[in-house]
Amino acid sequence: RDTPLLKRLNVYIQEPCEQYPTLESDESYTIVVTSDSAVLEAVSIWGAIRGLETFSHLIYPDDNLGLAINQTTIIDFPRFQHRGLLLDTSRHFISIKTLKINLEAMSNSKMNVFHFHIVDDQSFPYESRSFPDLSGAGAYNQDHVYSQEDIASLIEFARQRGIRVVVEFDSPGHTQSWGRVIDILTHCYSGGKPNNEFGPMDPSRNSTFNFLKKMFSEVATVFPDHYVHLGGDEVDFDCWRSNPDVQAFMKQMGFGNDYSLLEQYYMQKVVDIVGSTGKGYAVWQEIIDNNVTVKADTVVEVWKDPYPDELARVTKLGYRTLLSTCWYLNYISYGKDWVNYYKCDPHNFAGTDAQKKLVVGGEACMWGEFIDATNVITTTWPRAATVAERLWSAANVTDPNAATPRLEEHRCRYLRRGIPAAPVNGPSYCDFEFNR
């Protein structure tokens, strides 16, 4: 009876609301709970949304009071601007409903970029307006597709939570599912004859780039974020070498036998096509490794080891950089594997302050070879939350022992909220177990 009730949270946002979050959005906020009236102040709507999430963490079940909150003062802002999670929906299809549960889980850990790795060799589930046959022939079947309405509702669901949707259309490699009806892939040859196999996109034909021009102008209108991820990783040159037209093109271009020059030529054309739509682009680090000239605002994603050397090299070239090397969460192992994720740090490399500033954050990656809607949430959460803390919290928040009880509490919070976050710290329990 004698404990005061908290009666209100006064919310104050300084700047007019932006419509979509960006890489430059201000997510800072303060919370003061010192009387029956608490205050949440933020510069932008995105900071207010982050502050509301924190406020919801401050309220806890209490035997006497039902729900309680302690007198608290918080001043908060993210250490890194780009705190992403990649999901791969090509190797296994993942329903829109499950993708939204994942977005909800991301917002509970203040992650703010959904890297939508939507297509790849195995399947093409994106229903294109310009080229409906791409999913017609490229999807696993007509149910395993994302319609334009699905995409729009996912983008809106993410926007409500201050999450950017950065879509990846990877090329020239990883495009087998693209070529089932549109002749854009390189025909491979054996013994001087086509062998009915296909390789990367065929850079020797203008028709390839005419297709890409149309495709990426559609993508630019469907996905509002300034950035599109162009992939560019793991290009196998064997098929290009076997094709006589590509060989002739190499001669014509004076590339000799250096097929990385052909890859550079292809990526240069693609980044110019996407650049002409006004979009920025993110690419895997191979593009830079192969000396493609890209726009200054390009974001380069490092996925190779040893990551300190890779980060030093890419930032030395002056590009904004993301780290994902140590956060491939699809590699699972028995026990507390999250401690290694927690120890990985995007500033752990030899470089100048200017180079460190170029690191804009990182991404946890969940590749889909053995992941679909049955296990994507339980495998990703709360393990990805440890990456989220690495990317949001101060650089000196590094002690996994201090983090363990807090991570347990965060996992129980996920269960209370209906999100099946798996146990990651050995035997334990939550007051409210998952029982859907």
Binding site: L5, I59, N70, D76, G418
Partner: protein
């Protein structure tokens, strides 16, 4: 909270939080927009109805009765 805020200070002083007594207020001088009002609605449900929150945001029709029909005190007891 998770992630750990840059700076946080708490004291043992508690305040009760009751769904019938608590509400969000947007300061008169604050900017506001649809994103804020929907966020406040979402977080009210997340704080006071966590168990049915996910169903609500994924399929509001399926849950709205439950939230609407449940008298606040029952939920508070929960």
């Amino acid at each position: 909270p998770w992630p750990q805020p840059q700076a946080i200070h708490t004291t043992p002083q508690q305040y009760g939080v009751h769904p019938a007594a608590f509400h969000f207020l947007v300061n008169q001088t604050s900017q506001t927009c649809d994103l804020l009002t929907s966020a406040l609605d979402r977080y009210y449900k997340l704080i006071f109805y966590p168990y049915s929150y996910l169903n609500y945001i994924l399929d509001p029709e399926s849950v709205i009765d439950e939230i609407k029909d449940k008298p606040k005190k029952t939920l508070f007891d929960l």
